[in-house]
């Protein structure tokens, strides 16, 4: 029978043909938990009677959500993670190494065709590599640590075909914001979202990660991007992963990206998406370029292209995190960090930073934030009285320079000193 990518991959993992709706118990190839989810997970693991992690090589702990620790309570939770890692011989990414999702991909802890379980809702990001990656909570993760397996319902799939060529200055973020707006915050609940088409084939791994990352904002269980044209970190191609012709989808959507405008999600939901032209002139107080959605090298380059030779608008602060130490070092070596810092950007520790509202840039009452992250729920960045707009790194950078939302393409030319 013709299979979707999700059906194909799960069939392979369980060793028999399965289809949407089946309940399967699947062996897990890799797992991950962060300082937001690991403390509960490790506690649940012990309560289950767990003594040894099923396979320490396949599990990673990441301290990224509140790093370095902003207070003694969180610091103590980090201590618990470090101790567990030592005792169990488990890999730990400590303060400043980067955001969990970036680290898993960058360091090869997840590969095409694998089944990965992450105790974080943006785990579907690894669909960019063609991995079946699902986000779970702490107790489910504890179950994985104990058994090396997870139960799943084989999801129905939504197929998204992206045709055409992205216009200059329009990025994968604009595409996925557009799609979240079109499908809605619950538009793919419990489902797998497949991406394919010529506009995908020409995308970098980083851009594919942006697409896969925000299927969480459609309620999806996982994302699967066809691997045609994919270059892995290191430059090698990826194994071919495609859906069968004639596979059954719950919904099929084709979008020609050639005419797409930059997109902005307005408060207070990621599916409140508008063409930038409808929100031009919205004043901003704070800008943030970071998160597992958009803080890789190409994102920092996009920001630097806009900001090189400019200064931030008076009264606007711009906070930047690189997705990982590796990304930061690359941006340092090629002059991107210098260009952004000269413009007035503040770099903070590689990690989640203000995305999750715990530290390092909580907005004030009545303030407006423009951010390259994935969620703008009320209170997301730590203050329910702030308003958050979501956009691409280029649009965030342009707003930081202008003090209001502007189309980066219409900013007057800056002076010398452009990079990348």
């Amino acid at each position: 029978m013709a299979q979707t990518i999700a059906e194909k991959l799960l069939s392979e993992r369980v060793g028999r043909a399965v289809e949407a709706g089946d309940i399967v118990v699947v062996p897990v190839d890799g797992a991950m938990a962060t300082d937001a989810t690991a403390p509960f997970a490790l506690q649940a693991f012990e309560r289950m009677g767990g003594e040894r992690v099923w396979d320490p090589e396949r599990f990673s702990l990441v301290i990224d959500h509140a790093t370095p620790a902003p207070n003694e309570r969180i610091s103590t939770l980090h201590t618990v993670m470090r101790r567990f890692a030592r005792e169990q011989g488990v890999r730990l990414y400590d303060v400043g190494e980067g955001i969990c999702h970036q680290l898993m991909v960058e360091n090869g802890h997840v590969r095409t065709g694998e089944l990965f379980v992450g105790a974080d809702s943006h785990t579907p990001t690894y669909g960019a590599l063609g991995a079946f990656a699902v986000g779970v909570g702490s107790t489910d993760l504890a179950g994985v640590l104990l058994t090396g397996k997870i139960w799943l319902k084989v999801p129905r799939s939504v197929r998204i075909e992206l045709t055409g060529t992205l216009p200059e200055g329009v990025s994968a973020k604009d595409v996925v914001l557009y799609l979240v707006g079109r499908l809605g915050i619950a538009g793919a609940t419990y489902e797998a979202v497949e991406f394919a088409g010529e506009a995908v084939t020409s995308m970098s791994l980083a851009s594919r990660m942006v697409l896969a990352n925000m299927v969480s904002e459609m309620g999806a269980k996982t994302a699967l991007v066809e691997t045609d044209g994919l270059r892995l970190p290191g430059g090698a191609g990826a194994p071919v992963l495609r859906a069968d012709p004639g596979a059954r989808y719950r919904r099929e959507v084709t979008v020609d990206v050639s005419g797409l405008r930059p997109q902005v999600a307005v408060p207070h939901s990621p599916d409140n998406v508008r063409d930038i032209d409808e929100v031009l002139g919205t004043k901003v107080d704070m800008a943030f370029i970071g998160s597992c959605t958009n803080s890789r090298l190409e994102d920092l380059h996009a920001a630097a292209r806009v900001l090189a030779g400019r200064r931030l608008a008076p009264g606007v602060r711009l906070i930047v995190t690189a997705a990982s130490r590796h990304v930061f070092n690359q941006a340092l070596a090629d002059g991107t960090v210098q260009a952004l810092s000269d413009a007035g950007a503040t770099f903070i520790t590689s990690g989640c930073g203000p995305c999750v509202g715990t530290h390092q840039g909580v907005p004030g009452d009545g303030e407006t934030v423009i951010s390259s992250t994935n969620r703008n729920f009320r209170g997301r960045m730590g203050n329910p009285n702030a308003s958050i707009y979501l956009a691409s790194p280029a649009v965030v950078a342009a707003a930081a320079a202008a003090g209001e939302i502007v189309d980066p393409a219409t900013l007057p030319l800056a002076g010398e000193g452009r990079v990348a």
Binding site: A36, T37, A44, G143, G219, F377
Partner: protein, 167 residues
């Protein structure tokens, strides 16, 4: 735990986990701390009105957003006996069952705030006793029902050692 009744607290659609419990309050292992901030950004007084055994009744896509298990833990610790919604976000639904918080998807319900509701999870029935109206809950997969019946995934795995016991 299969049959409960309590007063309904009606919530809207798309209640995300940031509103159930803000990220800044989640970094703790103390469940009481979590319950103290339940739905604070949504309705600061709600937690004072919840009595043990009460029922949260939501619209579509309850619990969307992050994977934080602190969300169902805060609800359970506040004394809520069951959460009903027209639909749930998937991670929240799994998390709730895994920590032993009863949840039921009731696609057609029109239960208003303050109604007395009776829920029989085994039967899959929900009754708005004030209006005399009854609704059907969507069946959950057998493995989930067994985990819920065991009181959550911790007792379930402690007893079975794995998932194979369920079909």
């Amino acid at each position: 735990m299969t049959a409960v009744s309590g007063k309904a607290h009606r919530l809207g659609d798309n209640i995300d986990t940031d509103r159930i419990i803000a990220g800044k309050y989640t970094k703790t292992l103390d469940a009481g701390d979590l319950a103290a901030h339940l739905l604070e950004d949504y309705d600061p007084e709600l937690k004072e009105r919840i009595r043990p055994g009460d029922v949260l009744v939501a619209g579509e896509n309850f619990g969307c957003g992050s994977s934080r298990e602190q969300a169902p833990i805060a609800i359970k610790t506040a004394g809520v006996s069951v959460v009903l919604a027209r639909s749930f976000a998937r991670i929240f639904f799994r998390n709730a069952i895994n920590i032993g918080l009863a949840v039921a998807e009731v696609p057609e319900h029109e239960i208003p705030d303050g109604a007395r509701v009776r829920v029989d999870l085994l039967e899959g029935t929900v009754v708005d006793e004030d209006a005399g109206q009854s609704y059907r809950a969507t069946r959950m997969p057998a493995v989930m029902a067994e985990i819920l019946e065991a009181g959550g995934l911790v007792p379930y795995l402690k007893e079975h050692g794995g998932y194979e016991a369920s079909p």
